[in-house]
Symmetry: D2
């Protein structure tokens, strides 16, 4: 198994280990060092009163993609926590599949910066996000 497959497997296991991602309908598509792509299949209960995807879910999928991207860069025994999140909502998201690509902009010893683009199934850009992520010792480590 190559490094990339090991990376993807590790992240898939993390998502599978918690009910949150199943509940939210978020799954990992792909990952490589410094990047991760996740998808969310939009269900009727994800829509706001205007029939558009709730912005909080767009923030959720973007934050997930950025966190996993940073995760690919962490040494064992380190963990990441988003401390600041910014999202610009460029276009309303209609039902369908939404994909977020997260990318590490800079990974320091204690702080990492990441950014994300969220697109719909046609590739249309729905949102851009940025995260400031603290990197600390794992509690259990």
């Amino acid at each position: 198994m190559g490094d990339r497959e090991r990376l993807v497997d590790d992240l898939r296991e993390r998502l599978a280990a918690t009910d949150f991602y199943r509940w939210a309908g978020i799954e990992l598509l792909d990952a490589s060092p410094g990047e991760a792509r996740v998808a969310m299949t939009i269900e009727p209960h994800h829509l706001n009163i205007q029939g558009l995807v709730h912005g909080g879910l767009v923030a959720t999928i973007a934050d997930t993609a950025m966190g996993l991207a940073v995760r690919t860069r962490l040494e064992p025994g380190r963990r990441h926590v988003t401390i600041q999140l910014g999202v610009s909502f460029l276009s309303p998201a209609a039902p369908g599949t939404v994909v977020a690509r997260g990318r590490v902009v800079r990974a320091g010893r204690q702080v990492a910066f990441a950014e994300s683009e969220v697109v719909d199934a046609t590739g249309k850009l729905l949102a851009k996000a940025q995260a400031t992520i603290a990197v600390t010792a794992d509690r259990g480590a």
Copy 2:
């Protein structure tokens, strides 16, 4: 029925009209002109792998509180859309009830600014958020 009760009823109806808020477990606590408070009961499937509330949900409840706060200031036939959202995560959110208070900072004709504080059941400050919200003509109006 007083103005405030009418306001609260109107917002409750909006939340009830969409499955999203029931699915997310978000309900309105109170509202007054320029303010809204919403609560979310944290369930096991809201937690991330570290046993803490996923930051995307904190963003979701803060955005909801701010949107409803702006809603209390809109004239009929106008609608609001969050175009930029910023969240600072101050303390990790453990299971329990999480409450977000949204407040209008400035409501202009085309743009409104709002802010939100998210606290846990003990009143501990979990997050602060800011939103830039576009105000436009209602599509159906």
Copy 3:
């Protein structure tokens, strides 16, 4: 000399030790543990083509107030660096004196969060800002 006067003196010395603040016209008004207030006298060369204070200067004065507020909470041998800054521009700033109050929202060991309100001479709210600030060992320490 009381603790508060010592705090104010220490911050005044910091501002005086660098040409930047004199050049920018920024001076300390007051400080207490977790807070700092700075003022900037708007000159014609601070205005943009529309005759309003350039937003970058509003960001500068807000960031200065927040940095100094965090500074009041640092132990000796520690320094602060803003790593993320967000500013909402609520009203255009006309010539006159502009005052920014910075306040620590949460001061952790490695990360601090601060916020700031910028007002004009009449007390009108011009901008609100938030900063995520890294706290590290002083290089010279």
Copy 4:
């Protein structure tokens, strides 16, 4: 004179029409539809007490580049005002020339979104910024 030269000339005239940019040492390098590049020569009075470029100036140059980028897309009689600015400070900026490239992410009728990268003379990435920009009728129009 080609369209691009006309664009650059128009922006240069705007910068020359106000003392702010001369005072701040900011000049236009280049522009094309949806993009603008500006440079700032760092002088000793631009440095903070740690000998690094004050973050407020990094915000200023990034905001200038984004505003001019949006400007290239405006129809006559329209003007732009930054309403929300976010800056991530990735690396400290040492003395030398600092260049910001601004780029329109989406230009709507009433709101535009832009982003900027700030680099030093060696091409090292110092900061990334995002702006939400209101587009309105020109006051004098």
